[in-house]
């Protein structure tokens, strides 16, 4: 069967568009980006503040301006972007099932890049207790209301969470006359650098860490968030609650396509080239590792594009190599597999703040790579691994954290 395109990219965010541009630059003529929304650009489209684009365009842009530039660059390079096109499944053999405004269609591609991004966990996924009034939403919904629709959903919300995206929610509020009542973190310290909490302090927003959520109150709209903080019960009067962060991959297509998933990331399992358990499907961006910056995803998209380009001259093979087993104190590692012969960088997330030494070793206990680590909770940690010989890859690799406290 002849493929209708060389590479089909599922998702037109930074990773997908970065890959599309790179594939085009490498000389592929038939690169198609499939975007389910009416406009490509991904989450930066509704993240109306800087900084975006430093790595890609060497300048500081707002999210929407950055998204427009990514789209423009891809289109200039001859990439076809199909908007309002939802991929419902990827079948073996590079066959994509599409839902379009014209009805169901299929598209066959030589290779597929899955770049569907991620989203924040909802109050339901976090099992947040209480009533279910209108006005409880994620940062993504808040920002799409404000930046895409020009609507303000509330004027004095509580922001739950303290990852970087919570700061993004604070900035969004500040620029649009919304005065957050408090920032509430259920874990015992802010999930970013402590200094980042200065923004909250500058805005006069108290930060309550180690809080236990007791109930969401109000009907039909939110009226308060009840919580326990420092063994004292408090009722924060508010007219909205933003559940920020706790990202999870937008892995629906991966699940429906029966790609092997990593129970730690809940995204597809890949090797260092981004190859999944389907030999024709590669993966890049935040669907792999919730959550990294747009710039990181863009660069990862480019690397996946280069791997796809090399791979297209060979018979497709599924992700192989030795599996990396993360030990205590480590939440996830991406890629999940390493093959012989090429250097790689591991993306690692620790469980909370840690101090110690990260060690990758082979089945015989031999150290293959190591670094010291002193991280804040949601800090992206990288570990460079030199090209390995196949002898090192005969059994599982172990990634362990030797704590130093």
């Amino acid at each position: 069967m002849t493929a209708a395109c060389d590479v089909a990219i599922v998702g037109g965010g930074p990773a997908g568009l970065g890959a599309a541009l790179e594939l085009s630059r490498l000389g592929l003529r038939r690169v198609v980006v499939l975007e389910r929304f009416g406009e490509a650009g991904g989450i930066p489209r509704h993240c109306g503040h800087p900084p975006f684009g430093m790595r890609e365009f060497r300048r500081v842009l707002s999210g929407p301006a950055y998204a427009r530039r990514l789209v423009h660059a891809a289109e200039e390079a001859g990439v076809e972007i199909r908007t309002d096109t939802t991929v419902t499944a990827i079948r073996p053999g590079g066959v994509l099932e599409l839902a379009t405004t014209g009805g169901a269609q299929t598209l066959t591609a030589g290779r597929v890049l899955l770049a569907t991004g991620n989203r924040e966990r909802t109050r339901a996924q976090l099992l947040a207790p209480g009533l279910r009034p209108v006005g409880v939403m994620n940062t993504g919904a808040l920002q799409s209301l404000i930046y895409l629709e020009g609507k303000r959903p509330f004027s004095r919300p509580v922001i739950v969470g303290s990852e970087i995206v919570a700061l993004s929610a604070l900035l969004t509020c500040r620029r649009h006359g919304i005065r957050p009542v408090a920032m509430v973190e259920t874990r015992d310290r802010p999930q970013t650098r402590r200094i980042d909490m200065l923004l909250a302090r500058l805005m006069g927003v108290p930060v309550l860490t180690g809080a236990e959520l007791l109930s969401i109150e109000g009907a039909p709209r939110v009226e308060a968030l009840r919580l326990r903080h420092k063994s004292e019960e408090r009722r924060l009067e508010c007219d909205g609650i933003v559940f920020s962060g706790r990202f999870t991959p937008e892995a629906t297509v991966a699940r429906q396509s029966e790609l092997a998933l990593d129970p730690r990331t809940l995204g597809p399992e890949v090797d260092a080239d981004g190859r999944s358990s389907d030999p024709q499907v590669f993966v890049a961006g935040n669907v792999l590792h919730p959550v990294e910056t747009a710039g990181h995803c863009w660069a990862e998209g480019r690397r996946a594009a280069q791997a796809i380009f090399r791979d297209m001259r060979k018979t497709p093979e599924r992700a192989a190599g030795a599996r990396i087993v993360p030990g205590d104190g480590l939440r996830y590692v991406v890629p999940q597999r390493l093959a012989a012969g090429a250097a790689a960088v591991l993306n690692i997330r620790t469980d909370g703040a840690v101090r110690g030494r990260l060690v990758l070793s082979d089945a015989s206990g031999r150290e293959l790579a190591a670094r010291s680590v002193h991280s804040y909770p949601e800090q992206p940690v990288r570990l460079s691994v030199p090209a390995l010989e196949s002898a090192a890859l005969t059994g599982d690799l172990t990634l362990r954290l030797d704590r130093k406290d």
Binding site: R36, L127, A141, S155, R221, T252
Partner: protein
């Protein structure tokens, strides 16, 4: 504007599933009907949260009104559902036994089912259970199979009843709680939050407020509502591949217990809990019970370990101090009551409506004539196992990608004869923002599409 001076034949208090079915039945018989509800939309009380099962009545109390209503309703539902485009997910149910003690009770349950006329029930051995459901935890000991227990769309069905009633001339008034009532000769003078209303007969379908409405109407209450909360967890659609049959526990005296079932929307649902409480207006989800439900589901189907949760919700069932339905009439006063419909209302509503109409007919000679054309509405399909709107060309784009809801579907709901009164009503009519992301991606767009079209707007007006 409603004509407040017109006298209705029947005023129905409450637009839950029972009120909607009641309105349909009386409208089909030719009555002039007005339905009142305190909320901005239909299905805003007990009816908004249930397990969406069409029951056969196999485990209902023998010779009870509940059983009779369920079985009459089951047949009527199957009769009308094709024309109304209402889905049935033919799953069957298994009452699974997990202990020696439970296993020993299966023959009694079988005898009860057979006695209730559900004659296709039979007991399955452990091997037969596992052949049917290979992913069930292997310590299952056997089950009672009930082949005709099925899963339906719990919102489209009552919406269809209400829509048909409306097409036949029934009037619906929302934000209209009953505040006072007076019997004036053979006419009721009702005061509501949306103006006065005159009607010859009143039917109390007020669910969680049934006893209070009865007191407003006739000065005393013959029953007492004791709300029973049920919490539910909805798993990701990926979970539904792990179970085909509705999984019921061996029941106890008070409750049917925790059910694990697919939904027509392609999810897997576990619940409800059964928590007695005083409050009629609070259906809290609680961390401890949600964890228990998830653990329960994983214990039954181990493949659900680590399965993402899509939604959690809680509802209140209008239980009373007795297990039976509280259906009664005072024909001289023109008062009819369908109260205490604690658990099987979705199944039984069509039958309850027939029963109340029969009660009404006992003391009234029929002066109305049934409409020539019953104007059967055809509902938009929301079931995953049937073609969805997004698969049909010209839908103007998908707004909610988790549930695959199109702009065309949302516009159609907003322009329908009984448009949603609030965001919850829109969600129930279309499924928008009901999926994995709970609006992360689509809330902004939905706010724009619904602007100026909901009685209770999605965004507060003072900041919008």
């Amino acid at each position: 504007m409603a004509d407040f001076s017109a006298e209705m034949d029947v005023a129905i208090i409450g637009a839950g599933v029972v009120g909607c079915a009641m309105a349909r039945r009386f409208a089909l018989e030719g009555a002039r009907v007005c339905v009142l509800d305190a909320a901005p939309d239909i299905l805003s009380g007990a009816s908004k949260a249930n397990s969406a099962i069409l029951h056969t009545g196999f485990d209902a109390p023998p010779d009870s009104l509940e059983l009779a209503c369920m079985q009459a309703a089951y047949d009527e539902y199957m009769e009308i559902r094709a024309a109304m485009n209402l889905p049935v997910l033919e799953t069957g149910a298994m009452v699974a036994a997990w202990s020696e003690d439970e296993e020993a009770r299966l023959p009694d349950l079988l005898a009860q089912a057979q006695g209730n006329g559900v004659t296709d029930t039979r007991i399955l051995s452990r091997a037969e259970v596992l052949a049917r459901e290979p992913e069930l935890a292997s310590h299952v000991r056997g089950a009672l199979l009930v082949p005709r227990e099925h899963v339906i769309d719990p919102w489209s069905a009552p919406l269809a009843y209400a829509t048909q009633a409306k097409a036949l001339g029934a009037e619906f008034r929302f934000n209209a709680p009953l505040t006072a009532a007076r019997r004036d000769g053979d006419t009721w003078q009702l005061e509501t939050g949306a103006g006065p209303l005159m009607a010859k007969s009143v039917i109390n379908c007020a669910g969680l407020y049934g006893d209070r409405v009865e007191e407003i109407l006739i000065g005393t209450r013959s029953f007492e509502i004791r709300p029973r909360k049920g919490q539910f967890v909805v798993f990701d659609k990926a979970a539904s591949q792990h179970l085909r049959t509705i999984l019921l526990p061996v029941p106890n005296e008070r409750t049917k217990g925790v059910v694990l079932t697919r939904t027509v929307y392609g999810n897997l649902l576990v619940g409800p809990t059964a928590e007695e409480q005083e409050a009629r207006d609070r259906a809290d989800v609680t961390v401890s019970e949600l964890h228990k439900l998830i653990a329960k589901a994983v214990a039954l189907v181990p493949a659900l370990e680590n399965m993402p949760v899509t939604a959690v919700y809680a509802g209140l069932r209008p239980a009373s101090e007795r297990k039976d339905y509280r259906v009664h009439a005072d024909a001289a006063q023109g008062y009819y009551c369908a109260g205490g419909i604690r658990s099987t209302g979705l199944t039984a509503a069509l039958g309850i409506a027939r029963h109340v109409f029969a009660l009404w007919s006992e003391s009234h000679s029929l002066v109305w004539s049934a409409p020539d054309d019953p104007v059967v509405p055809r509902m938009p399909n929301l079931a995953e196992h049937l073609p969805r709107d997004y698969q049909i060309p010209g839908h103007d784009g998908i707004v909610c990608h988790c549930e695959m809801v199109t702009a065309r579907e949302i516009r159609a709901a907003l322009d329908s004869p009984l448009p949603p009164g609030d965001f919850g009503g829109l969600r129930r009519r279309t499924r928008c923002a009901m999926g994995r992301c709970q609006g992360f991606n689509c809330l902004g767009r939905i706010a724009s599409l619904t602007e100026g079209k909901l009685r209770a707007p999605l965004l507060p007006e003072d900041v919008a």
